[in-house]
């Protein structure tokens, strides 16, 4: 490989365009969604008004919930990182054991 491997990888993965008319298809899909949404809006306005009163009362609890959620997600991230590091070190040990192991004999002796 004459070129740097990473440069080759960049060239292999260079961005490509979707098929012609992609923008029109996206806008058509949005138009369909807006049409569906309009019929729902009127139905839900009165429900939303009533809900907003109740929502204000629960706002404090919600903020606590958000904080808890952030803590939980951070704890999850730390857990994954801890397991990743554990696996990385275990992998070194497994590889070392595998490197030292001679190929098992084919005579079925099991040694």
């Amino acid at each position: 490989m004459s070129k740097d491997f990473e440069q080759q990888l960049r060239e292999a993965l260079r961005p490509v365009d979707p098929e012609e008319g992609f923008e029109l298809r996206v806008m058509a899909r949005i138009a369909r969604e807006r049409s569906r949404a309009r019929t729902k809006v009127t139905r839900w306005v009165s429900v939303a008004l009533a809900a907003s009163v109740v929502f204000a009362a629960f706002l404090g609890a919600h903020q606590w919930q958000l904080r808890r959620e952030q803590e939980g997600l951070e704890a999850r991230k730390q857990l994954i990182e801890a397991l990743r590091l554990t696996g990385e070190k275990l992998d070194i040990a497994y590889q070392a054991v595998n490197r030292e192991a001679p190929e098992p004999a084919d005579d079925g002796s099991g040694a």
Partner: protein, 182 residues
């Protein structure tokens, strides 16, 4: 012979991991503060997940996602996970005596060294210990050191090494294989 040894180690860990029962002793190590090392290190990882935080983390694992479900299974009997990792730009900046002080704790009754790796070329040492009490595994300790980094992992509680091994390939946990085209 060593392949058999590896299989035996896995079988032993699997057998010992089967039940969490009453703890005869805490598998938690006393980790040094490593004061002042953070300023010298190019990378620091400090993870302290006590039972409360582990429980919280577990609640945010999505049982519908296979990889999250696998993690939940792997940590089912675990009561705490403690990690300290420091990476430096020059050799032996860290006080090896501090790392050795952790190794010394592992000569206490109950701790058994499972694997010892010494690589002269990379000057790498990796030691894996299990705390075994009344035929139950109550803790795992890994101490890995190289001239420019050291990592200490201490897991308290019943760990299923087989399930941990099964996490390979997810979340960046090693052993990457290209999947076969069907």
């Amino acid at each position: 012979m060593n392949t058999l040894l590896k299989q035996s180690i896995l079988a032993l860990c699997g057998m010992l991991s089967l039940c969490a029962g009453a703890l005869a002793a805490d598998g938690q190590l006393k980790l040094p503060e490593f004061g002042g090392l953070s300023d010298k290190a190019s990378e620091v990882v400090t993870i302290t997940l006590d039972p409360a935080l582990l429980g919280l983390a577990a609640r945010f694992l999505d049982p519908a996602k296979p990889e999250d479900a696998a993690v939940r299974e792997a940590i089912a009997g675990i009561k705490g996970i403690y990690v300290r990792k420091y990476v430096f730009d020059t050799d032996f900046v860290y006080p090896q005596a501090d790392v050795e002080s952790v190794r010394k704790q592992l000569s206490a009754p109950g701790w058994q060294r499972l694997v010892e790796v010494r690589s002269r070329k990379e000057q790498q040492k990796v030691d894996i210990y299990l705390l075994v009490e009344q035929e139950r595994a109550n803790g795992l300790a890994i101490i890995a050191s190289q001239p420019r980094e050291f990592t200490i992992v201490n897991i308290v509680g019943s760990i299923d090494m087989k399930k941990l091994h099964e996490l390979e390939g997810q979340f960046g946990i090693p052993k990457l294989e290209l999947e076969q085209k069907k």
